[in-house]
Every structure is written in structure tokens, then in C-alpha cells.
């Protein structure tokens, strides 16, 4: 499995950074890898990284990405200081720098199976530059291009929410699939890790599991991912849960327990998106853990899923990791046509637009009054 992983904008490049962290660093107790921290796996063999941003400080703060894999765009327009949440500036900058981006992508073209572009929908660079970059990537690489698009939670600023609506429209037409993850489903109440970090951790754990399962056991491959993501007839999302094997109890009851958790969110965080899971049309299901626990469980898990969602096509399998103390279930759901999160986002955006419209009239009047203070006063100007 060869993936070109592109991070665009502050959130995107941080997610990419997480993806490439060595297992020994940056992995917190609750997210201990299923594979144990002693066994090192070099994800760079399968993941080709590229970090693109308009902010030099953001790029400098990355821990796991080499200089040659970073591109600072918009040096003239943004002076390395970011777009200030200005989505049209993000778009303009990307368009101006298309040649540079294309050249960089041409270096990796032909060696990758598919491309994952990680970005926030609400940011100036993440929202504005990503559609442009996606288009270029699709053209140059000739392999499927998917995004991991981060939805802002409804509590985030007006600017992000309006940007996100815009960005989503642009991105949808330019890629082969969209994996949506929602900042809003995560909470700091249960796990005391900042929300953004949590989203990054879940996504990176899922992708890493995917890569590792493919490389070490061959039970799945790029074609499994592409087959699950195609056709582009709906939105995709991911879920990832794990449990210590001593908490699983005897027998196979834990399968439905964990499946309930990952698909329905019963007993913890499930899918990273508020949606109607029953509208999913395809799934990629991975069960990872020690063979004595995990052997012959895929069949049960798939059956569970097919009972919940009749007609769903399920790919995947078991990835046996001897001596592991964790069991992990990772799922990629595709073809979702009923997504509450998107509806709520539009609703909130409408509210904000209404408020802005009301306020705009009043603002205009006040501005005119205020300018009179200067212009109409009898005070003589200096020149």
C-alpha cells in the first residue's frame, strides 16, 4: 500500500505530523498502539508525506516531517503568516502556486496507489487551498484522490463555519471521495485530551492500522480502500475503538459490544461523524489483535454489520498480532447519504448569515454616522 498523504493548512499538517510520529513518541496511554510500543514500524515506507501551508511557524513546529517534504506557499501574499482565516486568499494563493505544487507532485506520481489530503474545512488555507490542490493532484497523479475533511464543531467561530460550507461545496466536485470527521463529536469530558488532538489521534490510528495490516498481513490492500470508497455516491467516515484483552471477557460477546461502540457509539465514541450509519453502502472492517482472541471473528463482525445495515458490502478481515494486549476494530463506512452533521452545519451557517445580514444594515448606518464625525466637523484638515 502506497499512500501520498498531503496535509493542507494548520490542521491538516498537524494531522499529518501525527500520522508519522514514531510509535514511541506522542502516543498516550489511552491510545497505546495495538501492536505494542516495542515493535517499531516505519510508516514512511508506505506513506509519502507532503505538508503544505501558508504559515511558516506552523510548518516549523512539525516534529516528524522533513524539510524537503514541506512547502510554504503564498510567501508574497501572506508573508509566511497564514491567511488569517481568509478562504478566498487561501484559494488565490494556491492558484498562484499551482506550478510549484504540480512539480512537487510529479516527483511522486506513479509510485502511489491513492492520495489522502488532510485538511480543515474551516481554515483559510485548509478550506481555500485544498480544492485547488485536489484538482492538481487528481490531474497529475492519475490515482484516486480522497480527502480527510475536518468539520468545525458548531461552537467554533462564525468565520470557520461559513468557510466550511464554502469549502465543502468546492471540494466535493474535485475529488474521488470525502472522508468527513467532525470536531463536534469529540468531547474533552471523557478523555482529557484537547479536541483537536483527539481527532488527530483517531484518524492517525485508523490509517496506521490500515497500512500496517496491509504491509504485515496482506489481508487488505489499496484495492480494498479504493473499492470501499468507490463510487463517490455518498460521504465516508471512520471509526476506531480498542480495548484491553483482559476487559473482553470470555467468548465472542465482545464482538457485538465493540461493534455497538464503533458503529452506534454505545458506551463511548463511535464514528467520527454524526450521521445515519444505516445509509452506509460499503464498509471496510478491520479486526486487530492477538490470534487467540481475534481468530474467526471477522465473520461474526461482518454478520453483525449486515444485520444492522442490510445490503451493505463489507470488505476487510482479521489482522493477527501475536502477543498483543489490545483488540482494535477499525471501520471505514462509505456511501453515507444521510449526514446530520452537514445538515446542522448548514443550519448554523444560515443562522449566522441571517444575523450578519441584520447587523450589516445597522453597521452601514453607524459607519456613515461615524464618518460624519470626521468629515462634517468644521475642523480644518492639516492639508
Amino acid at each position: 500500500m502506497q499512500i501520498l498523504a498531503i496535509g493542507v493548512g494548520g490542521a491538516g499538517i498537524r494531522m499529518l505530523d501525527f500520522l508519522l510520529h514514531r510509535p514511541e513518541e506522542g502516543v498516550l496511554e489511552k491510545f497505546k498502539e495495538t501492536f505494542g510500543t516495542r515493535k517499531y514500524f516505519d510508516y514512511k515506507d508506505s506513506l509519502t508525506p507532503l505538508a503544505v501551508d501558508t504559515s511558516r511557524p506552523h510548518l516549523e513546529n512539525l516534529k516528524s516531517i522533513e524539510e524537503k517534504d514541506k512547502i510554504l506557499i503564498g510567501k508574497y501574499d501572506a508573508k509566511g503568516h497564514g491567511t488569517g482565516s481568509d478562504i478566498s486568499l487561501g484559494e488565490r494563493i494556491a492558484e498562484k502556486e499551482i506550478d510549484r505544487i504540480e512539480t512537487k507532485l510529479q516527483d511522486v506520481a506513479g509510485q502511489v496507489d491513492f492520495c489522502l489530503i488532510m485538511h480543515s474545512l474551516g481554515g483559510g488555507t485548509g478550506g481555500g487551498a485544498t480544492p485547488v490542490i485536489s484538482e492538481v493532484a487528481r490531474r497529475v497523479l492519475e490515482v484516486p484522490v480522497y480527502t480527510v475533511s475536518i468539520l468545525p464543531s458548531l461552537e467554533e467561530s462564525n468565520i470557520y463555519i461559513l468557510n466550511a460550507v464554502d469549502a465543502m461545496k468546492s471540494v466535493l466536485g474535485k475529488v474521488d471521495g470525502v472522508i468527513l470527521v467532525d470536531n463536534g463529536v469529540v468531547t474533552e469530558k471523557i478523555v482529557k485530551i484537547p479536541i483537536y488532538e483527539q481527532v488527530n489521534l483517531y484518524v492517525s490510528r485508523f490509517v496506521r492500522t490500515l497500512v500496517r495490516a496491509s504491509v504485515e498481513s496482506g489481508i487488505i490492500g489499496s484495492s480494498s480502500v479504493i473499492g470501499t470508497m468507490s463510487p463517490f455516491d455518498g460521504v465516508s467516515t471512520i471509526g476506531n475503538v480498542s480495548s484491553g484483552i483482559n476487559k473482553l471477557g470470555k467468548g465472542k460477546k465482545w464482538i457485538s459490544f465493540l461493534m455497538n461502540k464503533v458503529i452506534k457509539g454505545k458506551g463511548g465514541l463511535g464514528l467520527l461523524l454524526n450521521c445515519d450509519y444505516k445509509t452506509a453502502q460499503r464498509a471496510l472492517l478491520l479486526i486487530v489483535g492477538p490470534p487467540e482472541k481475534v481468530a474467526d471473528t471477522f465473520h461474526d463482525a461482518r454478520e453483525w454489520l449486515q444485520n444492522q445495515i442490510p445490503g451493505i458490502a463489507v470488505r476487510g478481515g482479521e489482522y493477527h498480532v501475536p502477543n498483543s494486549t489490545q483488540v482494535e476494530i477499525g471501520v471505514l463506512l462509505s456511501g453515507l447519504t444521510e449526514v446530520t452533521a452537514i445538515k446542522e452545519l448548514y443550519k448554523r451557517a444560515k443562522e449566522i448569515t441571517e444575523v450578519i445580514r441584520e447587523k450589516k444594515e445597522e453597521l452601514k448606518v453607524r459607519k456613515e454616522e461615524f464618518i460624519k464625525l470626521f468629515e462634517e466637523s468644521d475642523i480644518e484638515p492639516l492639508f
Binding site: 447587523k359 445597522e362 453607524r366 470626521f374 466637523s377 492639516l382
Partner: protein
């Protein structure tokens, strides 16, 4: 940013910015000082000699223009090439913006600031901001009139103006001169914090919601005037460095209350903050005290309060800090009683000066009318 200090107050403040800057791990200010008074220019401590520009030597011989800002403007216009030359030597490709600093009440700064602003806007693409100091009411009519005339001329020439009211920081019974040091320190702190938003350093952790310099520029740079609020709170000694006993709700409440104090407390320009079109909240302190939730709620509160809909918020984590602080920039404000009063007072002063001048002219003519019967010597 390139700070261009003009006149006595302006050069002093620019000098302080550089002094403060020297203690920071990442540099973001350069400065030049422009004045007509040689002794003031020599008295600066931090701006290097080659960046100090004396103008108007022919006209006032290094002695200053004495609160005559019309003369200040004329000198600036005559010597604009000298000023621009000094600025040009300091501009590099990574310059984000110019910050012209002057007190409106004086002569040199007040007269030069709109002149320099206009020329910079013509020559450079980068935004030009002004940090303009209003004289306190106690300072007298001439200063008020100077400030009004200068501000009226300036406002159309820049991308945004920070207004600071000397009077806002005066304490009861204190003379303005005594307050200067305190006012200047307040300016440097508030504007300095805004200026260094987004600067990554090896000491500070990257903030969770990093506010880039562009966010600051997008808030203050779309015209109009900006007033800046500030509030801080010391962290209990025993809690410092360890996990605080405050739970998440407590931390969030604390963040919100500090932001509210910053907005409702002493703003650099007393004004109705609810008329702001845009706002920026920057929260600084040890990361363990700054919760996403707190910052979000503070931002939501401000979004509901102001006339506009753009509120940006970010954190500036500093693990070693022993206090929590919020700096709030309120931009596009359209209601300020203080500003109205300033202009009204200036208009009356202008009238009075005209009357006095008329009166004086009349009396002077009359004086020599009386002497018409007397024969001249030759």
C-alpha cells in the same frame, strides 16, 4: 512590523517597543525615529543611531516646532525624501506592515503622521497602521485642536488606527506627565502582544488555536479605529507548575471572566465596544489553564455583544508565565463619546482662536489708525 516614531511621544514609544523587543525570543519589530527636536532624538535609548532622523534643521534648528503641527506637517512634506530614505533602508521582503506612532497633541508627530502615511501608501503594498495618542482633556485647547486636525487628515490615509487616550489612564490628582510612563508601558504591552501573535518560538508551545499575524491584520486592517482592552490575573503560587485544582468548568469560567474584564475595563480609547465590527481575543498564560471551551465561550460571548460578526480568538501559551492575561482588539468602533467631545472641543477651540486672531488683527489695525495723525520720521 516597522515602527516609525514621529515626534517626542512617538519616538519614545517606538524606542520602548525596541527595548521590550530585545527581551523576546523572536523579533518582530524594527524602528526608526523621526523628530525636529535634537535633544529628544539623542535621548532615546534603544533605537540605533543610524535609525534616528532629525528633520527641519533649517527651519527650527533642532529645537522642535513647539506644538505647531501645521509647521510640523510642512517640514515633513519638505523633508519627506529623507524620511522615506530612512524607512526604505529598513524594509525587507518579510515586512508585514508599517506602524506610524505619534501623539496628536504635539507639533512634529501630529503634523508628520498624515504626511508620512500618505506617502507610504503610495509607495508600498504593505498596510499602514497608525498608533495615535489623544491628549487628555486637561492638556489644553491647542493640543485638542492639533489632535483633531491631525486625526481628521490621517484617518483616510491609513488602513487602521489604534487610538489611545492619555486621559483614560490618568489617575486622580496625577499630572499627565507623571502618567506618561505608565501609559507608554500599557501601550507597549497591549500592542506588543498583538504584534507577536503567531510567532513560533522554541520556548513557547504551539497554541491550540494559534492566532496568526494575518488574523491580527485582518481584524485591525480593514479601516476604522481600534481600541484595545487588557486584563490579567495572577496565578496562585501553590498551583503554579502543577495541575491546578480547578476543574474544567472552573478554568473555562476564569478565562471568560478575564476576557470580560478586558472588554469592559479600561480600553485604550473609551468607547462603546458593542459598536465594534471586528474583534480579536488573544489569551496568554500557561497552557494548563487555557481550555478550548473557555476560549470558545469567551469568543461566543463577544460575538453576541458586538455589532459585527467577526470575532477571532486564539491562545498564546507560555508555560513559564505566572499570570493569565487577555488582550482584546476591538475594531471598526463607531461610537465614542470621548472622540465626539474631542472634536467638539477642537471645533470650539478653532472658533475661539479665529476670533482671537480677528480681534487681535482689528486692534492692531486700530493701533496704527490712531497713529495716522502722527508724522513718520521719514
Amino acid at each position: 512590523m516597522l515602527a516609525v516614531g514621529l515626534g517626542q511621544a512617538g519616538t519614545k514609544i517606538a524606542d520602548l517597543f525596541i527595548g521590550w523587543e530585545m527581551k523576546q525570543p523572536v523579533k518582530c519589530f524594527n524602528a526608526i525615529a523621526v523628530n525636529t527636536a535634537k535633544s529628544d532624538l539623542m535621548g532615546l535609548k534603544n533605537i540605533p543611531m543610524e535609525n534616528r532622523v532629525l528633520i527641519g534643521e533649517t527651519a527650527v534648528k533642532g529645537h522642535g516646532v513647539g506644538a505647531n503641527n501645521k509647521l510640523g506637517a510642512e517640514i515633513a512634506m519638505e523633508e519627506i525624501d529623507v524620511i522615506l530614505g530612512a524607512i526604505d533602508r529598513m524594509t525587507k521582503s518579510d515586512l508585514d506592515a508599517f506602524l506610524l506612532i505619534a501623539a496628536g497633541g504635539g507639533g512634529t508627530g501630529s503634523g508628520a503622521i498624515p504626511v508620512v502615511a500618505r506617502h507610504l501608501k503610495e509607495l508600498y503594498d504593505e498596510p499602514v497602521y497608525a498608533l495615535f495618542i489623544l491628549p487628555a482633556e486637561a492638556e489644553g485647547d491647542i493640543y485638542t485642536l492639533n489632535a483633531a486636525r491631525s486625526l481628521k487628515t490621517l484617518i483616510g490615509e491609513v488602513d487602521g488606527t489604534f487610538l489611545v487616550d492619555n486621559g483614560a489612564f490618568l489617575r486622580y490628582g496625577e499630572s499627565v506627565k507623571e502618567a506618561y510612563d505608565r501609559i507608554n508601558a500599557e501601550i507597549v504591552r497591549r500592542i506588543g502582544l498583538l504584534a507577536r501573535a503567531g510567532e513560533a518560538t522554541s520556548h513557547a508551545k504551539v497554541g491550540e488555536v494559534v492566532v496568526d499575524a494575518s488574523e491580527v491584520l485582518n481584524t485591525i486592517g480593514r479601516g476604522g479605529i481600534t481600541s484595545v482592552g487588557y486584563a490579567q490575573e495572577a496565578i496562585e503560587k501553590r498551583a503554579r507548575g502543577k495541575h491546578t485544582f480547578l476543574d474544567d468548568l472552573g478554568k473555562a469560567t476564569r478565562v471568560i471572566s478575564i476576557v470580560k474584564r478586558a472588554v469592559r475595563g479600561k480600553l485604550t480609547l473609551p468607547c462603546d465596544y458593542t459598536t465594534a465590527e471586528r474583534a480579536l481575543v488573544l489569551f496568554a498564560g500557561p497552557p494548563v489553564y487555557m481550555t478550548r471551551k473557555g476560549l470558545d465561550k469567551a469568543r461566543q460571548w463577544l460575538e453576541g455583544e458586538i455589532a459585527g460578526s467577526e470575532v477571532r480568538a486564539g491562545d498564546y501559551p507560555n508555560p513559564k508565565a505566572d499570570f493569565l492575561a487577555a488582550v482584546v482588539a476591538l475594531s471598526g468602533v463607531t461610537e465614542s463619546q470621548r472622540l465626539k467631545e474631542l472634536f467638539e472641543r477642537a471645533a470650539r477651540a478653532q472658533e475661539r482662536i479665529k476670533e482671537v486672531a480677528e480681534e487681535g488683527r482689528r486692534r492692531f489695525e486700530e493701533l496704527f489708525e490712531e497713529a495716522e495723525d502722527i508724522e513718520p520720521l521719514f
